[in-house]
């Protein structure tokens, strides 16, 4: 679906250079807004330190880095064990698990946040969220293809994987080059549901890009390219799609009325707490790429 709009975007790009559409800065006065707790974190199947980030929201033209929320007590339970996260000394507002922690597919993860006073009324609030960690089969393999599209030149990742027929599945795709995560911002994550290909084999559909024009992304022969396939929940899928829609900007043709991005946090907090299943497939960039 999202792809469809990407293609529509291509079509629009035909029309608009002719129509001379242009942008310019404009001064807008906006009302103030009250502070909310912002929570973001993933529990993945990887055995590693898992981070939950707590921030405070700000007025729209705040124009400073988000303020972390310190001193919270964060607990995560998967129904079998409950752990308490510790706040990072170097990064206030960042809470971590032990490095041997990993998520188990099929379990439901609950997050509880205590000892936070966002509205500064002297009474601390409690927030919570929960997410399944979905099952997902590993991809078979990937291939690199050098592509030259309008407005994009670089290597695309072609995916060979089977989507299970019995379930409604949601995916996110990232790519790592020589051990460095290249999908390092929200707009770069590719997300897809299986609505139009439930139960099918992907046959080398293109799922991620390494853009020659972005620093460090250009692929050279011998580079190790690791593709990360995430099994995500419907809720997390919607969260990413909605966030990307907001970041993409709106126009009178394609955009519905702007609306707040959905969340699975309670008590007025925003953001998302997600369980994700990560499986990988790698390839060494060939000579003739």
């Amino acid at each position: 679906m999202k792809k469809t709009f990407l293609y529509l975007g291509f079509l629009l790009l035909i029309v608009f250079p002719i129509m001379q559409s242009c942008t310019e800065p404009i001064e807008i006065e906006l009302d103030n807004s009250y502070a909310r707790l912002i929570v973001y974190g993933e529990i993945s199947t990887d055995t590693t330190v898992h981070k939950i980030r707590l921030n405070r929201s700000a007025d729209y033209f705040y124009n400073l880095p988000a303020e972390g929320v310190s001193g919270a007590i964060i607990r995560i339970s998967d129904g079998v064990q409950e752990i308490t996260l510790s706040e990072s000394v170097t990064e206030p507002g960042s809470y971590q698990t032990e490095s041997n922690y990993y998520g188990v597919p099929g379990r439901s993860y609950s997050l509880t946040i205590n000892n936070v006073d966002i509205n500064r009324d002297g009474t601390s609030e409690t927030y919570s969220a929960s997410s399944e960690l979905p099952f997902m089969a590993a991809p078979d393999s990937i291939k690199l293809n050098y592509a030259n599209y309008p407005f994009f030149t670089g290597s695309e990742i072609l995916l060979f994987a089977k989507d299970p027929a019995e379930t409604e599945d949601f995916y996110a795709f990232k790519v790592v080059k020589n051990g460095i995560q290249q999908t390092d911002s929200l707009p770069e994550i590719f997300v897809q549901n299986d609505l139009l290909f439930n139960g099918n084999y992907t046959n080398g559909v293109s799922v991620q890009f390494l853009d020659d024009d972005k620093p460090g992304e250009k692929v050279s022969p011998g580079d190790t390219i690791v593709f990360e396939m995430y099994g995500i929940t419907a809720g997390y899928y919607n969260f990413i799609v909605q966030a990307q829609t907001e970041l993409f900007g709106s126009n009178p043709l394609f955009s519905g009325p702007p609306a707040n991005i959905t969340t699975n946090l309670t008590n007025g907090a925003l953001g998302f707490f997600a369980g994700v299943n990560i499986r990988r497939a790698g390839v060494i960039a060939p000579e003739s790429n």
């Binding site: 529509l8 001064e27 700000a58 124009n63 707009p187 046959n203 009178p252 609306a259």
Partner: protein, 782 residues
């Protein structure tokens, strides 16, 4: 059975109306009837005024140019007048039914003047219509046009009470209604998407069109199916006297229309084509990727009509148009097709009838490169078949009765997508077809009571039936689908019906002044799943159903009409209030395409609109045009949106001004100007923000709590008509137009973006579509 019962009920209303009037007239009554035509082209004249001097009353010709007046035996003077034509007068010594076909000759002076026509000199004051505007194509031609493309819809958008949905759009909002609440008819066939090139142009090629009429409030009982307005566009019949050609070469499109008699004064044809060729300029584009792109649209109108005899005439008319966008990777095309077969039959000189068979269709297709694993094609289609019968009974000069009915079979194919590559990723994904029947029967009576009072009252009964085969999802209170019900073929599994009364009163206060009031109830059974303000060609129509109740509107209008300076200055003030129920909006982040559970994305509530419209129309010796001002508010209250609190409707523009002027500088040189001003569209802006993975995400205000900057624009045009050479049929003119003459950067969209250098800084950015756009068009006629 029920239908017959209702029909007979309606007819009994008609006959009871008819009685007292015939009691008043014991004398034997005859009729004068016939057609009014243009003497040079044979085109029938719509709404030409036919009056009996001695009685001080008369009638106007119907859309087929027919008139009939019932008179007692006696001697009368019959007059016929039509704007831009010499008035015709004839003495009648009536002692039997009389057929009088009249051809009016155009006035020698050019028709540069009147923009909103007032047919009889004080027709705007005396007619039984509130909130209507009739636009003659000849006059629309003088309005400065975007890219030189003269356009009916763009002219409609300049009328008071009408707001543009978004810059460059062909969508319009009438008295606060949504753009899908306008019934747009081309020769009686519904045009589901009246826009080309995402709205910059409309599907109506001016050269093929005779007349357009917009009903803003007082929709006649003979029409139904949309809440807010009726726009009737009628194609020319084709010159029945001589062969002629009209055409033009413009900056981005060319047109050619051929028309002429097949059998003189009996059979004539018209064929008209237009093609827009923006893509021929693409090879000049700097960006090499653009060079192989396709971007064009075309329109084809054709019509044949044949006069069998005095009592029978048939018409066949059709329209086909398509937009094509294509590049190496993706393509899209969409368009409307309509065909109308009509038969005019006179059962007697007083009973005029028309029978129509209509087919209308809108479809689109979208796809990507065929051979890739993610190559796909996606189609959607909507098709209507209608039969219609309309009768007009001319009882006496002051009393006309109309009745009739129509049935439409809707067939929706909301969407199907499938992979195209041999190793395609995609399965076939098909939203099931939907079928529905929509019926309407009506009767209305127009009566002149005494010298000053005229009343019009009518009743329409509409019925809507969902027909199997269908799969209907059932939803709980939170719009989650619980299960679905499957209905077999031809199972009439759901139906709605309702009465739609329409009333109008005109009271004359002297010859130049009148007050008018009207009330209309309208019901709408099919609507557009459109979530953006301007919409795209991909938006699909969906019908009322078990989950979607029909929308209903009740509107009252009150108007004061006054003409000055021998009717050369017309003024009016009209106030309206309308209340709409079962208003449809969509939930936040709604998915409207390829969604089998589309109905679960709707949210239902109420809305209201109120306003005052001021209009001054000038038909002075030289200066012509109009100035309109509308003050209005439109609000929606919908459960599940904006915390159930009222919010400004998407097209709520409290202040709206349009000035349209036209002035002949010399005999051959005409200047035109229009200026529009409106309050900016309501819009939702962020008030707070938060950060996820380095991206600044918005926290929004209440729905539509802010406004875009005010919109204003000036357009200019200059038309030079080459003085015609003696004995030469060839006429030509050059039209220079300048859109957005002072180059204002009107906001099309406002977005908030992160600064490239410091991502912590967010700023507002305005997107505008056009600075000034000059264009040249060459028009010819022979």
């Amino acid at each position: 059975m029920r239908l017959i019962l209702i029909l007979s009920l309606l007819f009994s209303v008609v006959s009871s109306e008819a009685k007292p009037i015939s009691n008043d007239e014991p004398q034997k009554s005859f009729s004068v009837s016939g057609y009014i035509k243009d003497a040079t082209t044979g085109e029938v004249l719509i709404a030409a005024s036919v009056y009996i001097k001695e009685l001080g009353s008369g009638t106007v010709t119907n859309p087929y140019g027919f008139y009939s007046i019932g008179l007692n035996k006696g001697t009368y003077t019959l007059g016929v007048s039509y704007i831009g034509y010499n008035t015709f007068e004839q003495k009648l010594d009536l002692n039997g039914d009389l057929i009088l076909n009249i051809e009016l000759t155009p006035e020698a002076r050019q028709l540069e003047e009147v923009v909103i026509s007032s047919v009889k000199k004080n027709n705007n004051v005396s007619s039984l219509e509130t909130g209507t505007s009739q636009l003659q194509i000849e006059s629309i031609r003088r309005i400065p046009a975007f890219m030189g493309e003269v356009d009916v819809i763009k002219a409609i958008q300049l009328l008071p009470g009408v707001a543009v949905t978004s810059e460059g759009s062909s969508g319009f909002s009438v008295r606060g209604g949504a753009s899908d609440q306008n019934l747009i008819l081309l020769d009686e066939a519904t045009v589901y998407n009246a826009s080309h090139l995402i709205g910059f142009f409309s599907v109506f090629n001016n050269d093929a069109i005779k007349d357009a009429k917009l009903y803003k409030g007082d929709i006649p009982a003979s029409a139904g199916g949309r809440l807010s307005s009726l726009l009737e566009v009628r194609m020319k019949d084709g010159n029945s006297k001589n062969f002629s050609a009209t055409g033009g070469i413009g900056s981005i499109s060319s047109r050619l229309t051929l028309e002429g008699p097949i059998i003189k004064d009996k059979t004539s044809f018209l064929i008209s084509g237009r093609r827009m060729y923006a893509d021929i300029f693409l090879p000049l584009a700097k960006n090499k990727d653009l060079k192989n792109n396709k971007l064009h649209f075309y329109d084809l109108n054709a019509k044949v009509n044949h006069i069998i005899n005095d009592n029978n005439r048939i018409f066949i008319s059709g329209y086909a148009g398509r937009d094509v966008f294509k590049n190496e990777f993706a393509g899209m095309d969409y368009g409307n097709n309509t065909i109308t077969l009509r038969w005019n039959h006179l059962f007697s000189k007083r009973l005029f009838s028309n029978f129509s068979f209509i087919r209308a269709n809108y479809d689109y297709e979208l796809g990507t490169q065929a051979e890739r694993p993610d190559g796909f094609e996606w189609k959607s289609n909507l098709e209507d078949h209608s039969v219609k019968a309309d009768f007009t009974y001319y009882l006496s000069p002051g009393n006309i009765i109309k009745f009739g009915g129509a049935t439409t079979y809707h067939h929706f194919l909301p969407g199907s997508a499938r992979g195209t590559g041999s190793e395609s990723l995609f399965s076939e994904f098909v939203l099931p077809d939907n079928f529905a029947l929509e019926h309407g029967i009506y009767a209305l009576s127009e009566n002149k009571i005494g010298k000053n009072l005229s009343v019009k009252y009518g009743l329409r009964m509409s019925i809507f039936q969902n027909v199997g085969k269908a799969t209907v999802y059932n939803f709980d209170e939170d719009y989650n689908s619980i299960d679905s019900t499957v209905y077999e073929s031809l199972d009439f599994y759901n139906s709605f019906s309702g009465l739609e009364p329409r009333l109008g009163i005109t009271y004359m206060l002297g010859e130049y002044t009148s007050i008018k009031a009207s009330y209309a109830r309208t019901r709408q059974y099919i609507q557009l799943a459109q979530n953006s303000t301007a919409g795209t060609p991909l938006d699909i129509w969906f019908s009322a159903s078990k989950n979607i109740k029909p929308q209903v509107s009740d509107q009252i209008s009150l108007g004061l009409f006054r003409n000055f300076a021998e009717n050369s200055i017309e003024t009016s003030i009209e106030a309206y209030y309308k209340k709409m129920t079962n208003t449809i909006d969509f939930k936040d982040h709604a998915a409207l395409l390829l969604n089998p559970k589309l109905e679960g994305e709707t949210r239902i509530g109420e809305s209201w609109s109120g306003g005052v419209e001021f209009l001054v129309t000038l038909n002075l010796q030289k200066l012509n045009g109009w100035v309109g001002y509308t003050l209005s508010r439109t609000e929606r209250t919908i459960k599940g949106i904006n915390n159930n609190k009222p919010y400004a409707a998407p097209y709520d523009k409290p202040h709206n001004i349009s000035v349209v002027l036209n002035y002949p500088i010399t005999k051959n040189l005409h200047a035109g100007a229009n200026w529009v001003y409106s309050t900016g569209n309501p819009v939702t802006f962020p008030t707070g923000r938060y950060e996820i993975l380095g991206a600044v995400l918005p926290i929004y205000s209440e729905r539509n709590a802010y406004r875009m900057p005010d919109y204003h624009r000036l357009d200019l045009s200059l038309t030079y008509s080459k003085p015609p050479k003696a004995n030469k049929k060839w006429q030509s003119e050059w039209n220079f137009s300048l859109y957005n003459a002072y180059g204002r950067h009107n906001a099309w969209a406002i977005n908030f973006v992160q600064d490239e250098n410091d991502p912590n800084i967010t700023k507002a950015e305005l997107t505008y579509l056009f600075s000034y756009i000059p264009s040249i068009t060459y028009n010819f006629k022979f």
